[in-house]
Amino acid sequence: MDIELITNILFAMVRSGTPLLLVALGEVVCEKSGVLNLGQEGMMLMGAVTGFIVALTTGSLALGVLAAMLAGVLMSALFGMIALGLRANQVATGLALTIFGAGLSAFIGADFVGKPLVGFAPIAIPVLSDIPVIGPALFQQDILVYLSLVLLVLVWLFFRVTRAGLIVKAIGENPWSAVTLGLPVLRVRWLAVAFGGALAGMGGAYLSLAYTPLWAEGMTAGRGWIALSLVVFASWRIGRILLGAWLFGLASILHLVFQGMGVDMSSNLLATLPYLATIVVLVILSSKQSRIRLMAPMSLGKPFHPAG
């Protein structure tokens, strides 16, 4: 492997990991508040289609991204109404949201299939982008990649140093104790769910406006699910989400690169690596002790009713 190839691989790794990073970042905030939203794939698709349509009709990519985030928020509000308002089973509601989003996005986007769009262009940061090997990967990307990294730092700081971050975590651990302390459990959970929706919409928009600027039915191809498993893989730690997103990105690039190099290794086997890692984490998580050790929010997925 020469330097140029490694540079290219790292560049592709960051790009391929960005939608995962965005969606997982939204989901981890949601899960830290104790809500498990499995509707990421549906929200991503709605974000992708809305972003594409708005960007194409208005000619503004920025408006497209905003519209995508709004679409994600609306989708998550639907989830909130059923799972938080009516206290329905979160797993079932999330799954329904994914199916709904896949169908609705296909319906709205039918007239926009096969239309070309000029997507986000890379912005090279002077000097830094000339650093060998890692320069292009980190400093020669499009604006959404930079934005995803900024958001990552903000979320990390939010949980690390702010009181609000502590409140979200407290509610995720034990909403009943939190409510006795006078914390607005439902309001916080609503906000966390909406944040998750906005970032899932943005993750979808990254695909339809930057990575592969086009709309096609089901174009996320399961990335919402990968992002969900990424949250588990990262065991709810913000820093590890970045690491995980890049690792998953690297795994999906490497099995293609190895094929091109003629390495005699099953590409299917390589492609399964991220999932294998996730399963291992899930197995470890199955005991309560290790859940505590791995910082899983203890009330994750349990509906909350103030009275009981």
Binding site: E4, L5, N8, I9, A12, S16, P19, A106, G109, A110, V113, G114, P116, L207, Y211, T212, P213, L214, A216, E217, G218, M219, T220, A221, R223, S252, I253, L256, V257, Q259, G260, M261, G262, D264, S266, S267, N268, A271
Partner: protein, 367 residues
């Protein structure tokens, strides 16, 4: 004189009017004859911008060509397997005279339902099982790919061509081999790197594969997957690409050299006509450039005129039958002789092709 002229005029008008009325009535009588009811079963949504989209374009073209004589319905996103039989049976019960099932996985359900409805005519795409009322049809995509190979050989500078593959099945391997034979014809030093993504349709993965190939020196990308993402990747990286299925030039105006397109409209119209004329019989059609089922997308301006001429000559040769793509001598990947000099591969050998020709790098994954 004047009066008689007027009378003549009046008479002429009456005659004309009655003639027109007769014609009109006749016209009505023709319209009253029930149109042929034709149904289509699609595996994907008509908006997939690829395979199903192509079939639906064919359906629309058939309606245009046989205006008023056919009435069509379609059912989209039908899962391959047991449920397909239910959908096909329902269409037959609804009085459709001719049913096209457009995916390989509909093969057994189609035969099963065909047995129960012997008067209904069925056409199954890309399958190999037929009966008295079931025909099969497919397109020789690989013929178009040979032509793109000729162009690639002339256009490459790095002598490395990247090929984004879907699944290692004969249909795709035929395309890789035909492309490589064309490539070697114009540029014996060039090689083909293949990357399999194990999906027909995953824009992001297709793009990653194209980028991985470009990173390894490929300066032309060919694809056997359904989205235009590889063409976009080529456009962004400033290399060339060949599209597939539909004209993908708008996704990469500089990159898109040409592509092999599939075109079902003529075939669908011909089949419907044969049913209307009562001379339908079950058969197998594997149409290529000669029947218009496979076409080339417009050539990019970047291709020099002499290369376009070369490609067009090959296309004409394939159409007339003078140029046979899988005709020996053909060497297998390891250099051993696979097809002897002068021997033409039979269709059944092409349909089960599971080996690479010389010039393709990497090992063909075995399923």
């Amino acid at each position: 004189m004047k009066a008689s002229f007027k009378k003549t005029l009046k008479q002429a008008a009456t005659v004309a009017l009655s003639a027109a009325m007769t014609l009109g009535l006749a016209g009505q009588a023709v319209a009253k004859e029930d149109p042929l009811k034709v149904a289509f079963v699609y595996v994907g949504p008509v908006s997939d911008a690829g395979w199903t989209f192509g079939h639906d374009e064919g359906r629309k073209e058939m309606i245009e060509k046989l205006e008023g004589k056919v009435e069509t319905t379609f059912v989209e996103s039908v899962a391959e397997g047991a449920d397909a039989a239910r959908v096909i049976r329902k269409l037959a019960q609804q009085g459709n005279d001719l049913i096209f099932t457009t995916s390989f996985g509909f093969m057994n359900p189609t035969l099963k339902v065909a047995k129960q409805f012997p008067k209904v005519k069925f056409h199954h795409a890309t399958g190999y099982k037929r009966s008295d009322n079931v025909s099969t049809y497919a397109a020789r995509f690989y013929e178009g790919r040979y032509v793109t190979g000729l162009i690639a050989g002339k256009m490459t500078k790095s002598n490395v061509i990247g090929y984004v593959g879907s699944f290692p099945i004969p249909e795709v391997v035929q395309g890789i081999n035909a492309f490589t034979l064309g490539l070697k014809e114009t540029n014996p030093d060039a090689t083909v790197k293949v990357v399999w993504i194990n999906s027909w349709y995953d824009p992001a993965k297709e793009r990653e594969a194209a980028e991985a190939l470009i990173a390894q020196g490929a300066d032309i990308i060919n694809q056997h997957t359904d989205s235009p993402a590889p063409v976009q990747a080529a456009q962004d990286k400033g290399v060339f690409a060949f599209g597939y299925d539909t004209d993908m030039a708008k996704f990469g105006p500089d990159a898109h050299l040409t592509g092999s397109l599939v075109h079902w409209g003529d075939y669908y119209a011909d089949v419907a006509k044969s049913v209307l004329n009562d001379n339908w019989e079950a058969n197998d059609t594997w149409g290529g450039i000669n029947t218009g089922m496979v076409k080339m997308a417009p050539y990019n301006k970047a291709i020099p005129a002499d290369v376009v001429a070369l490609a067009e000559k090959a296309r004409a040769g394939i159409a007339s039958g003078d140029l046979v793509i899988f005709e020996g001598p053909i060497k297998a990947q390891d250099g051993s002789e696979k097809v002897a000099d002068g021997v033409k591969l039979e269709d059944k050998d092409i349909l089960s092709m599971n080996w690479y020709v010389q010039g393709v790098e990497g090992k063909l994954p075995t399923n």
